[in-house]
Symmetry: C3
Subunit: 438 residues, 3 copies
């Protein structure tokens, strides 16, 4: 019997972390961390007069809107005889179980038991599982942490607050693997130059003058990862033909479920103003091996809108012609980034066994992301707020993304100075296509 | 280390009982209790020249009818090389395995091994699993208990013995949850006033004068539960407009798989005699999480037969218009009692975790039922016959149900005196619709 | 505490063997034995420009053909971030992961990491799982044993080397049960007289003079099992009307995945030479409960080819008319031997619990087969080559099968002298149908 060596102990702690990271359930270290943040439950527009069963972080719940319009989120099993409240009836002041009529309000109080004697006080002792719901920006959100009676303010996604353009919000893209497969993909910008470069995509004619194909040396992608107050961002600065002009791409990841990027929609014709269209979204974590993507985009007057897909193609087919002898689940899948990401992320397995990985320098973003998750887990275990939980009443979640050209002299990579679509910095081209900076 | 407190020990024993109750397998306390009763295997009409695989109380068996018409029920795996006898061949005197021709009779004896030398005595040593089968009333029944060589007489369901009307027998309604979800629903008459009252059902015009809508104070339902020699019955006595006249509803549950009620079909126009139509049925327990309902009804001359559904609607749709945004498994399900029961029972889960329940006074029927089950388990463990097992040769299982109006002065709730469809008591209305009592 | 009795210990060792026999995975006794043989992976014709996921002996692999035509078989998960190489890209010198571009050659070496700095030596340390592939006879084969750097020569299936007829090779018949259910069926010729005799099959008119129906005393089948250098063969010698003439049927099983028989196609009109058509095949073991059949046949000029099915019927229907009340998975399944075998083998269960068997004299072939498997497992455990593994460079796997009439005086049952389609012995009838011997 010998003492375990320090290296082995360290290795073992890291391997334990790799096992803990993807967990989402109550009582797991990562699940407890996730419960310190607000999570989207469903789009407000879907919350009508039927209760909706939702699995959130491995807990089976039902969300409903009572007759007065108040949303509620409660445990799916009626505490009486365990019938599912998914088949309950929406009533003026709560949700009624269809089996014996027990009625619950949005705070889990039992407010009626019609089969019990009228003088019975039994209902007063029932405390049904509930979580607070806040509706904002077209989404019903919940907070499942220990402070549910008095949760920190909901961090409002800046894009969803915008009134100077059209915000599109799309749900329903449910995946059958762990949400970290998605998040690690997003923390890893370099994959784009390989995976999304497998097939040369046709750019619409009117965009060709502004194509990224002027960029040299895509691979290996020069990329920096910067820790921010909301999480992290990834910045790639590329040389163009003009040594004074750099092409910059930025992606932002706000812990633990938000992402933001501005892609080809940014700063394009016809008006080339700073009216960048932004894409982003958030993850509804269902359980360890399922999640739903809720995507949004902001399109303002003048943004290029044609020909770009928002999310997955309906038929899950890429742009490569399908070969008759292709027997894979996804055939001819290459050519559409959202589908390419789905195929590769799913292929990693429902919960990848990360102990088998061989990380390389291209994984610096993934490593930073895991470090942030680990720190947040440590903070929660020590009773501290994890990164991105703010007690400020405002609670607007502002992240910065950028995709376009910028003067080398104005470029400084860091958490504080990237132009965003909020502060109006970073005008890109004039209507003749010449570079102009604000 | 301290002694467990009495209260905790009692709690623990009750919780252990809750876990044991739904079990059906060999060697479980509840499964051993179930094996002291006869169980339906299939309808006689289905037993033709093909063996039928049947799972009974968690045991995989095959039922067949040999060329002489004798039914047999034996283990599904041939004891030779484990091929399934579901693919066996019916022969004059037994069932032949299609693989190597071993032939078995209805008592599990191997009566031929055509590939063995003619002088071989090997077959005499084969004892294949078998259970006795008795055909009666259109059903093939089996007894899977320790007395299979000499089982107690089959308790014959009175309705199936009736010759004064048309008996309809319907199988094939297979459920994917534990049979107790069904039975507890039946021991709990009060659910009907909530669940089956969610949607106001249209009564055919000719029945409207006799509608239950004259009843006041449906909720909470005044209900009594009475232990009987066959199991239990539930009686609800309701006030009508006339203080001398009560409306009575009775449901009967015969241990452990039979139920009986007489619903809207009872005593209705055009002849209003005591020729009540009765509904009921029995459960074929497949395993812990599956069962099949075998329903029957007795319709005599004059009974109202139109417009009432027997069992589930083919499309599993209720009478409520389906909303496009309803994503539940059962959409627009309300309005048909059999479907309503399916939806709520299934929603409790395959095996509900009863330790999470909060029982109330409306659950007195469920509590009585569990007490009967518990007593039967105790009786079997102590070597006694459980309730309802009779050694009498007659073995007719007579239960009493009632649904209609009765004079208050004639009403006495107890196990002995409810009018039944057998003894002819309880004439309800004359042909003018006036109340008449026998 | 008493010593286990010898009998019990022996029984226990045999029961342990029964449990071990069907295992195929790495580290199991039987799996290690299987890894000393070459196994088919896929047909060469299917290996085009898309990688194919293949599960082999429970290991998830991907087979591909690089741009130079070289086949490779490597672990399916990219060692970088665990994406599936099933979605990799075939490149000139290997297979590239689509996620981050890591490229692997057929020997598991990482030959490019495009996102890493050009001076990085990281890729030199990557050792990805690989197995050698050899293409021969239209099949890509692999050897998954410890000698993979220098495996024993591939034993070439004689039929696939023939150039004097048409070889047909068909894959794609995947089964959802253990491969030994199939192999034990083949080691057990006697089943044919029962299972394949359930339905009298129509022989084409031109074959009726040569039908086996001249044979008397089919049951019990007189059968001998002979151990050979490649495995075992089963010989049945039957009396005909002429006491000088015997009808002989031989099946051969080459360890551990090959089978060969010559059935009704052998020596029939119009030329009655020794140009017997042979049927056979091999098993691709997927895992403990799945395998794929790869069948082949050799048809030479003059062989009867009409009306005989090669493998399973597309609709999985037999020749018996389907009855409306047949609810089994396979309905009306009797009448086609390949389907009859499927139905009965599958019915034994995914992995039959052989401890419940009752073997009889008709199982002598099965018993010999298990003894061979056991001996091979023992040999491998002791570091010896198991039966059929040859170090000779030639490596042709010649087995002998026969189906036809032969002079009683020339008949000697043993491993050395049965006429085969290779040595030309055993001419059967002349063009008038008279018996002629070579």
């Amino acid at each position: 019997m010998t003492e375990p060596e320090t290296e082995n102990a360290g290795q073992s702690a890291y391997q334990r972390l790799l096992d803990e990271l993807p967990r989402t359930g109550l009582g797991t270290r990562a699940g407890e961390m996730l419960r310190r943040y607000w999570h989207p439950v469903c789009l407000s527009a879907n919350l009508k007069d039927i209760p909706i069963a939702v699995r959130m972080l491995g807990e089976d719940l039902v969300i409903f809107r009572d007759g007065k319009g108040t949303p509620g989120l409660v445990g799916i099993r009626c505490p009486h005889r365990l019938a599912s409240l998914e088949y309950g009836q929406v009533r003026e002041d709560g949700l009624m179980c269809s089996y014996h009529g027990w009625r619950f309000n949005a705070r889990g109080r039992c407010i009626d038991q019609p089969l019990e004697p009228r003088e019975s006080a039994l209902k007063n002792n029932i405390r049904h599982l509930w979580y607070p719901v806040e509706e904002w920006g077209g989404v019903a959100w919940t907070y499942m942490g220990p402070e549910k009676e008095n949760p920190p303010p909901l961090p409002k996604i800046d894009v969803l607050a915008r009134t100077d353009g059209v915000v599109k919000l799309v749900d329903g893209d449910v995946r059958n693997y762990n949400y970290l497969n998605w998040m690690e993909n997003f923390a890893d910008m370099a994959h784009a130059t390989i995976l999304h470069g497998l097939v040369v995509r046709d750019l619409p004619d009117e965009l060709k003058p502004y194509s990224d194909t002027s960029i040299k040396n895509w691979t290996p992608l020069p990329v920096d990862h910067v820790e921010t107050d909301y999480g992290m961002k990834t910045v790639s600065v590329l040389d163009t033909g003009d040594p004074e002009i750099k092409f910059v791409n930025t992606w932002a990841l706000a812990m633990p479920i938000h992402w933001r990027f501005s892609g080809l929609r940014s700063g394009f014709p016809p008006d080339f103003t700073d009216e960048r269209q932004e894409g982003g979204g958030m993850i509804r974590i269902i359980d360890d091996t399922h999640f739903e993507l809720i995507r949004y985009s902001l399109t303002r007057k003048g943004n290029f809108t044609g020909g770009w897909l928002f999310g997955l193609p309906a038929n899950l087919k890429g742009t490569v012609e399908e070969r008759t002898y292709d027997k894979r689940r996804y055939k001819g899948w290459e050519g559409l980034p959202a589908l390419e990401d789905l195929v590769l992320q799913e292929s990693q397995g429902a919960i990848p066994d990360r102990k088998l990985e061989h990380l390389a320098s291209s994984d610096r973003g993934v490593i930073m992301m895991r470090r942030l998750w680990h720190q947040a887990m440590e903070d929660v275990a020590a009773g501290r707020d994890p990164k991105g939980v703010s007690r400020q009443a405002n609670g607007m979640l502002e992240v910065d993304t950028f995709h376009g050209h910028i003067k080398a002299s104005e470029l400084k990579v860091g958490p504080e100075n990237m132009p965003s679509s909020i502060d109006g910095g970073g005008l890109i081209r004039d209507k003749n296509g010449d570079l102009v900076f604000s």
